[in-house]
Structures are given as structure tokens and as C-alpha cells.
């Protein structure tokens, strides 16, 4: 049997049999990888703390027909800042869920992988109110279905752009408007995110614009995936 090495982020895990789990990773070179971690549910397993969802690892696997088998794992980042903060978890779960639906088995996913590790690292280091929205918009752009943000998605007019409609594929001018109305700040923030000023966008303080960007990015990615992101609507919130 052949082995392969890759980095990966654990997207989710599923119980298998008595003591095993099927672990789903996103990897740069092999895209989505589904691999069996044998004995992982036993307290003494060498995998137990290393293959939790939301862990960045480097790993070695046997290549199988349907499922691969994990043979070695080393942790690169546990993203402890997220794990230990209930308020950061919903965004992280939504990122993992979106990536899980976007990546395909055995198709390289370098861009998505980098966006995810970068996003989780940023979230682990501090909360950015625009982070989840920015991440989802970048995922769409990487998929080649990024929204039209520089002119009206329907008629091409320069502006002013006053609405966002994921069915049309971007912002819309006054005469073409449909979908949800958006404020000028929101348009500016989305342009910043997709126009190479991500760092600046991520330092934006929480505002109506950051909330609106998250909502429209969620709507756009759900439209693209043709499914709802469960995590985005089931945020655990103790307040």
C-alpha cells in the first residue's frame, strides 16, 4: 500500500465501530481526505488529542480505496484561543463547515487550505468582527464565484450600489435593486476584503457594516452551496 504525507486541518470526525473514528481533513495537496484513525477513542491513543476538529496537523496516511488510514500525526496548531473561548467558536465552526462542503476528495485545495489556516490563526489570536464574512467571501472568490462588488452586478453601472442579491451575484444599483438593502459602509468593507486590503478590513471595529458583511457572505455561500450552513444558524450563545 502507498503512503502519502500532507498537512491538514481536521474538519470533523465521526465514530466508527468500537474505538475508531473517520476523520475528515482538508489538505493542500490531496483536497478532502477521509481517513480512519484506529483506536482514537481509547484514552491512551496516540491520536486522541491530536485529531480533534479544528486542529492543524502534519500527517502520514496509507492510501486506501475508499478511506485512507492515518499512521502518524503531529500537531502544528491547536488554535487554543478559539477552543477556550465560547464566543469565537461559532465563527470557527462555520468556517470548517463551509470548507467541508466546498473541497472535493483528491483535488488539490491549496488556496482553500491556506485561507482556512490563516482564518483560524487570526481568530485564535483575537476576535475580528469582519473575519467570518471576509473568510466566506474569500472562499467564494477562490471558487471563482466571488460576488461582483465594483459595479452593479446587473447593468454594470458604477453606482451608487444600494443592495446585495446573491441570486444576481453581487451588489446592485438603485434601478436594478433586489435582495437586501446595504449601507455604503458595507460596500466599502466588502471591497476592502476582496481588493487586497484584508488586514485593514480585519481590524475594523464591530459595526453595522461588519454584521451586514457576515450576513450577506453567509447568504452568498449558502446560495452557492445550495444548502444552509448549520453552524451559522445554531451558534451556541449562553446569553
Amino acid at each position: 500500500m502507498a503512503t502519502f504525507k500532507d498537512e491538514g486541518v481536521v474538519l470533523r470526525t465521526m465514530k466508527l465501530g468500537e474505538a475508531d473514528r473517520i476523520v475528515t481533513f482538508v489538505t493542500p495537496e490531496h483536497g478532502k481526505v477521509r481517513a480512519v484513525a484506529k483506536g482514537i477513542r481509547k484514552a491512551r491513543s496516540k491520536f486522541a488529542g491530536r485529531l480533534e476538529p479544528m486542529t492543524h496537523v502534519s500527517m502520514m496516511c496509507w492510501k486506501g480505496r475508499e478511506l485512507d488510514v492515518v499512521t502518524q500525526v503531529e500537531v502544528i496548531d491547536h488554535f487554543r484561543g478559539i477552543r477556550e473561548d465560547l464566543d469565537r467558536m461559532p465563527a470557527a465552526f462555520t468556517m470548517l463547515e463551509a470548507v467541508d462542503h466546498i473541497v472535493v476528495e483528491r483535488q488539490p485545495a491549496d488556496g482553500v487550505f491556506r485561507a482556512l489556516t490563516g482564518g483560524l490563526r487570526t481568530l485564535s489570536e483575537g476576535t475580528g468582527p469582519a473575519l467570518l464574512g471576509a473568510f466566506l467571501l474569500r472562499l467564494l472568490a477562490l471558487e471563482g464565484v466571488g460576488p461582483v462588488v465594483d459595479s452593479c452586478a446587473s447593468c454594470g453601472a458604477d453606482g451608487p450600489l444600494v443592495a446585495f442579491d446573491e441570486h444576481v451575484g453581487g451588489f446592485l444599483c438603485r434601478s436594478c435593486r433586489s435582495g437586501r438593502p446595504v449601507a455604503p459602509d458595507t460596500v466599502a468593507l466588502v471591497r476592502q476584503i476582496l481588493g487586497g486590503q484584508l488586514r485593514a478590513a480585519l481590524t475594523a471595529p464591530p459595526s453595522r457594516a461588519t454584521a451586514e458583511v457576515e450576513r450577506l457572505a453567509t447568504a452568498a455561500i449558502e446560495y452557492h452551496l445550495d444548502r444552509r450552513l448549520r453552524s451559522a444558524h445554531l451558534a451556541p450563545d449562553g446569553r
Binding site: 470533523r12 491512551r44 480533534e52 467558536m89 461559532p90 453552524s231 445554531l234 451556541p236
Partner: protein
Amino acid sequence: MTARPDIPSRTKTALPADHAVFAGPIQALVDELSRLPGVGPKSAQRIAFHLLEVPKEEAVRLAAAIGEVKDRIRLCERCFNVAENELCTICADSRRDQTVVCVVEDPRDIVAVERTREFHGTYHVLGGALNPIEGIGPEQLRVRDLLERLSDHNIVEVILCTNPNLEGEATAMYLARLLAPLGIKVTRIASGLPVGGDLEYADELTLGRALLGRREVAG
């Protein structure tokens, strides 16, 4: 066994592979079995054909055992452990400390804690852990029941005994935040190194938590 089961060959009109390829009752059994956790279509077929081959009494005993649990076992009205009566044996036991509640994900976790013989309080079974990706939020767990129980009774301590994994930790953090205003002591089981293990094989998360949860030792 009186008659050999007739195994029809796959026909071109059949649905995609593994679908409705067997005679009615066998297919019904395969379908039911493949709904069980951890049983795929292949295993379901293997079990179904195994059941066809075993003596009838053996198969009937299995069916009766399933019927029996469904008839006689229900959930405890207080803690949602499995029970034969309104209350489970633990809730009904007057020697147990009713002022301490250990919150677990699953009735099987109660068995694990009971085996330690270290705990003499009562339990509350959540029925799972927060798992947003699988669509499990607080509403899908017995969180409201826990809150009701805490407001009704004279409970002084809640021990959060969910699994030491991402979902279990998230659930514990969520409950800790939810219970904080009630003024009840809320504790979390310590997580650390497995007894008998080697330090060099411990993963960073486990070792890090073990360090955080260190205790003073008497000299």
C-alpha cells in the same frame, strides 16, 4: 432450518446496487439493520443472512430482548438515565447525595463514572454535546430540563462531566456561562494524563491541561 432462503439474482430492473435486491422480508430486515449506528449496507446483509442461518430460538430471543427493553425501559423523569420506573435506581436511592449533580452526555457515561465508585451524587443526561456542524445546539439537548431541575431543588454543585473533546468542552463552557447567574458551584472534571502512559507520548493539549490542573502534593 426447514427451507433454504431463496436468494434472487440481481436483475437489470433493480434499483442501484444494494437496493431492494432481496426478497421482501430479507430486504426489510437488511433495511432495518442498516439504520443501526455503525452498520453499513454490507454489514447489514451479513447480519441478516447470519440471522437466517441461526436456530429460530436464537433469533426470537434477540427479537424478544429488543421488545423487552422497548417495553420496560424508559428514561428517568428526573435525570434522563435509563430506568425501569419513574425514577432510575440512582435518583430513587436515598443514600445518594441529591445536592450534587454530575452532567454527562450519555447514559453510558453514567456507567463509566459509577465504575470509579468515587461519586455519590446524582446525574443529568444531556443526550449529546453541542455540535453545530451536525446541527446540534442547546435546543437539541436537555439543557432546559437541567435549568428547571436546578431551580426546583436544593442543588449546591453541578459537575460538568462532558467528554474532553471539542464538542464536550464547548458544551461545558456553554453550561458554565448559562449557570453562572444561578449562584451554584459549577466544576469541570479535570483532564490530564492517562495513568500508566508515558509523558513523551502525551499530546500538547492534554499535557497543557494537565499542567493547568496541577495540584499541590504534601511532602
